[in-house]
């Protein structure tokens, strides 16, 4: 059989897996849960590669499948609150020496406090680098909605990152003290 196109698509799909995982972890805040979602999306994508329109953005297509899996599950289980409260920060657990001048732990904790749709928009546009148009197509909403969500997410993140530390440290007992050096107010 002529496996040229299929083979190339498969290669591209495999190449997109790290991005799918990063997106899923950012969305749900839990690596195991994220890998469940990635697996589900991969099986769906693999079995429906023939419905992918060649020449269009495969990564965007995969992200669409992935986020739909996440949000439909979210609607069913209402687990957003449980998943978003600090779990991304906890799971990310960046060693202090790797943080450099970037407060990644703080950032991820703040990120986890955003509503899921804002977090999605911010990750798609701000981290993954999708255009607003692609992000809107992935999220199934209007371009203006994506822009609004990104703006709201940015505003909220700035608030969270500049908030007094006391407000954010209820679950910090397990964090090394080095993670909590008060750099955040100087940065943003």
């Amino acid at each position: 059989m002529s496996n040229g196109l299929q083979g190339r698509l498969n290669d591209d799909l495999i190449a997109a897996i790290p991005n799918m995982r990063a997106f899923a972890i950012s969305l749900c805040g839990n690596r195991d849960h994220a890998d469940d979602l990635v697996q589900e999306a991969l099986v769906k994508a693999w079995n429906h590669l023939d419905s992918f329109e060649e020449g269009t953005n495969l990564k965007a297509w995969l992200f669409t499948i992935l986020r739909n899996a996440y949000f439909s599950e979210l609607r069913k289980t209402k687990r957003e609150v449980a998943d978003s409260e600090g779990q991304l920060a906890a799971k990310l657990s960046v060693p202090a020496e790797q943080q450099g001048h970037l407060d990644l732990v703080d950032l991820n904790r703040a990120l986890s406090k955003l509503p899921a749709d804002q977090r999605e928009a911010l990750i798609l546009v701000g981290a993954e680098g999708f255009s607003y148009e692609d992000a809107a197509a992935i999220s199934g909403c209007a371009v203006g909605t994506v822009k609004s969500r990104v703006n709201r997410a940015r505003t909220r993140l700035n608030e969270l990152m500049t908030a007094p530390p006391a407000q954010q440290q209820t679950d910090d007992a397990s964090q090394p003290a080095a993670d909590r050096t008060p750099r955040r107010s100087a940065r943003v």
Binding site: D35, E53, N68, L107, G129, Y132, E133, A137, A142, S148
Partner: protein, 106 residues
């Protein structure tokens, strides 16, 4: 590039929940940003806008975000996902693509 949109909007999974934004209660849809360029971007379609996140986020926050995301990107893919891919590849080798769209439900 702008043709891409209709491709995944019409994809089997892409069109299942276009109404989610209005139903999820977070309220972001009602807010129209009044800050400068964003308001008219919404009506002009913004096809000519330069792509890339640097136009979206303030530099520091954007850098932090991309750094955090970069860490996630660089974490190794776990065995269970690699195993899944192998399994899908084996399955595909054994079964030529069929028009009936055979499902794998594992």
């Amino acid at each position: 590039m702008s043709d891409e949109k209709k491709a995944y909007v019409s994809a089997p999974y892409g069109s299942q929940e276009p109404k989610r934004a209005a139903a999820d209660g977070s309220g972001s849809v009602q807010v129209t940003q009044s800050s400068g360029d964003n308001a008219d971007e919404q009506t002009t379609g913004s096809a000519q806008r330069p792509r890339g996140s640097q136009t979206v986020l303030p530099d520091i926050l954007g850098k932090q975000l991309r750094a955090a995301y970069g860490e996630l990107l660089s974490t190794p893919v776990p065995d269970r996902i690699n195993d899944l891919i192998k399994q899908l590849q084996r399955q595909e080798a054994a079964t030529p693509p069929s028009p009936s769209g055979e499902e794998d439900n594992s």
